[in-house]
Amino acid sequence: MLPIDYTLCVIALWLVLAMLGLALQGSPRLITRLIFPVGALASLALAATALAALGQTPNVAVLPLGLPDLPFHLRLDALSAFFLLILGAASFGISLYSAGYFRSMAGNTLGLLTFEYHLFLASMALVLLADDAYLFMVAWETMAISSYFLVTTDHKIPEIRSAGFIYLLIAHIGAIAILMSFGVLQGGHGDYTFATMRHNELSPLWTSVAFLLALFGFGAKAGMLPLHIWLPEAHPAAPSPVSAMMSGIMLKTAIYGILRVTFDFLHTHQWWWGILALTLGLATMLYGVLFAAVQSDMKRLLAYSSIENIGILIAGIGLAILFHANHQDQVAALALVATLYLALNHSFFKSLLFLGTGSVLHATGERNMGKLGGLIHKMPWVALLVLIGMLAISGLPPLNGFVSEWLLLQSFLLAPAMPQLYLNMLLPLGAAALVLGGALAAYAMVKFYGVIFLGQPREEKLSEAHDAGLLERAGLLWLAGGCLVLGLAPVFFILLIDNVALVLVGHDLGGTAASTGWLWLTPVAAERASYSPLILFLIILSGTLLTFFAVRKFYHGRVRRGPAWDCGYPAQTARMQDSAEGFGQPIRQIFDFFFGVIREVPSPFDSKPHYHGETHDRLWNLLYLPAASLVEKLSALIGKMQHGRIPLYLMYSFVTLIALLAFAR
């Protein structure tokens, strides 16, 4: 049995579970105790299979489904395998968590949700396996629909409904663009299998068209500027495990799509594609992180941070394209490895964080950070695990976020001179932007963690908050552990990812990545750059312990508790801490031209001072509303045609007749 057969089995299992979910609506216990754990195990199996398949030669399968002339083709190569790994590994944690998270949900809703959830998983896996345009589109849109229904699970809230609508609309527009891109790619053969697209040689013009369409279409799904508008609406709207899956996994399928089209189907690359992707990516990153820093809804904050990470991914792809177009394949491989590694990492820590917010939501019923705080005392487990995720996403050593950022910066730095001179100028700027983004991410994340978990509880009800249950913890632990392992032993995984790079750009880092042993990460050569997270970690750990006991030994460990001093200020209340808005204020002030801000600041003489502030996405007014109103105008114009008067209608047919007669003779 080939790996692809195993993956198909997993997909089938998921579909069966989905059906069971519908069938077992009556007994929620059974669903949470049985279906979700089994689904999780399936995910694990998938991850294992993918891991095994990474190094192997592609294997294919054809299902007797689909169109008569175009049955479902499936193909499992290194690229698919890698993203399947992401899918399996992340969804294992998420499903485990869901098993605990959904236990308090009503039966019929739960049944539907189970159905959609596993359908969502299966469709994502199919997207990654599809090897012809039809199956791809089917899986792609099924993914969109199922996630749409998941997003609108709580459809009684109008905001959530509109969020779902915008989400599905933009997804659909994106899908149309993707379809067109495939139409260009098949180059007039009328054969829509990816196999032919692989071997088509298109003219430079058409390759560019295909690339742009693909970038647009997949960018819409990924949340690339300026198509990101749906993401901060939809991701928070969904139940947290679903948000985790959308941010952690679904966005990656879009990245997969871009990679698939760019490096697998298109053989000749224009270097300006790279510039385009790079600029768009960096812009997206900065945009996302800036908005993340000023959010006060914890899930919106994470959603925006997903936009940021997607930006980095796209920028990385752009970098790879750039190098590849200039035939600097080793650096291209490096950039790709960095990108893919970030994709893997993001799927871990972003899922972790979203699940963490889920637990907080569960415990407090509160999404607004301004009403949280001090939860580290109430829910230590969640606090600890989320801390790991937060450190990881801020790109701090020795966790995994840092590794990918390090690799990406390396590929910026180690870039040999470009034939296009000004690119040599541009790349450092890119690096600078990347670093700035990283630092801002740290800012946003400190805000996220500090305001939610640290300080004093801002509301009374927070004292009832409870820690996450066992299954939730297990899920969180898995993801957090992933962050640690990926951070401490990157070399193993990078050697695996190398296969993908080999497939995509025909070059890999080869042995050099591990030339000085698995302990040292040396992408190019030891003397050029090396990094050993494990040693770093051990030193910090041992050092900390050492200092700890040394202090105890030489001096003492005596501790007294007392009220906070705070410069001797007596009347401390929880309201005096920075609110989320307060913490984001400097960013809002420095980058105010990005935000449309609405604020009501109380006058000094207010008896009941009330402060209200919200930041809007400028693009909404600049781009989307005009488009909508344009359509409105057009249809108003056309609507006049239908005037309701019979003579007029008769006139239409009369004129048509006369015109056609005149035309036909």
Partner: protein
């Protein structure tokens, strides 16, 4: 990596650990002299530390373990950072494990922890300090990294050893890019070590303080560790500056005989640097906190400019 290098690494660890407060004391002394105050003596920092260590620690009621263990992490990471900068001899095993990017990463790690710890108690000052600290950092960090980048682009490597080696070996060449980088680095150094014009280490004036606001709630050994850590941070920055911009006189790889000499030279460099630092601080005034972004933005732009010129002029 053989035993000698390992031993040497340990030696440098010890050195930075012990010499860091000295540098701090020296700077404070110089400042005192320049401002016409009578100095407390350059060993004052040691006395402070000793005193603090002996005291009983007081923790706020709402303090979580995070608050309690942060000082240790801070201390260690700063120690590590200071210990991995090759200023005496070139091949330090540590600087292979941790290159410049990772170095910046470590600084960031320390900062994030202290900021979180500051928010942990939930006082108005703590959060204020944390916010300002992050504000400073998200501009200073990139600037620092950019400085490193221009250096590592000249050396074609991000590993400190290689960079320093390159610079030490080059016969004296003016790197205009490095000139930009140097200024940027100086500005970052002032900002990061919470000295004027961005912060003022010797005040508890609510409206101005940043670093002090964060550690308000710390006492006794925790405070001592933090103070020591910031001393080492200063030491680390100064030595980094030395390593990048005037590395001459450093001992070659394997040439242990040169180490004593290098030690002397380093001492002189540090003394000079400390003096200059004090001078700078005495002549410059503290900025309003809202001006800090402009100041750091300038630093960032200078650093980027450095890289651009580097690419333009190829030197």
């Amino acid at each position: 990596m053989n035993t000698t290098t390992l031993l040497f690494q340990l030696f440098q660890n010890a050195l930075v650990l012990l010499a860091a407060p000295l540098l701090l004391g020296w700077v404070n002394n110089c400042r005192a002299w320049m401002q016409g105050r009578s100095a407390a003596g350059i060993f004052q920092p040691y006395r402070n530390l000793a005193k603090l260590f002996h005291k009983d620690a007081v923790l706020a009621n709402s303090a979580s373990p995070l608050f309690r263990y942060t000082p240790y992490a801070l201390f260690v990471s700063m120690w590590l950072a200071a210990a991995m900068v090759p200023v005496l001899a070139i091949d330090l095993p540590l600087s292979n494990a941790v290159d410049v990017i990772a170095l910046v990463g470590i600084f960031a790690l320390a900062r994030v922890f202290i900021a979180l710890a500051a928010m942990d108690i939930g006082t108005s000052f703590g959060t204020l300090g944390a916010r300002r600290e992050m504000l400073v950092s998200f501009l200073a960090e990139p600037a620092l990294l950019m400085v490193f980048f221009s250096a590592s682009m000249i050396a074609h490597s991000t590993s400190l050893t290689t960079i320093v080696e390159t610079f030490a070996h080059k016969q004296f060449v003016i790197h205009p890019s490095l000139a930009f980088g140097g200024i940027a680095f100086l500005m970052v150094l002032l900002a990061e070590n919470s000295r004027t014009p961005v912060d003022n280490p010797s005040t508890h004036l609510e409206l101005t303080m940043i670093h002090e606001a964060m550690i308000l709630e710390y006492s006794a050994r925790h405070l001592a560790l933090i103070e020591w850590a910031s001393a080492m941070k200063l030491f680390a920055y100064v030595t980094i500056g030395i390593a990048l911009f005037l590395p001459w006189g450093i001992a070659e790889a394997g040439n242990w005989g040169a180490v004593p000499l290098a030690l002397v030279i380093l001492a002189l460099k540090l003394a000079a640097a400390g003096f200059g630092l004090a001078l700078l601080e005495s002549v410059s005034a503290k900025l309003r906190i809202f001006r800090a972004p402009e100041y750091l933005g300038t630093a960032f732009l200078l650093a980027v400019l450095g890289i651009l010129t580097l690419n333009l002029l190829k030197v």
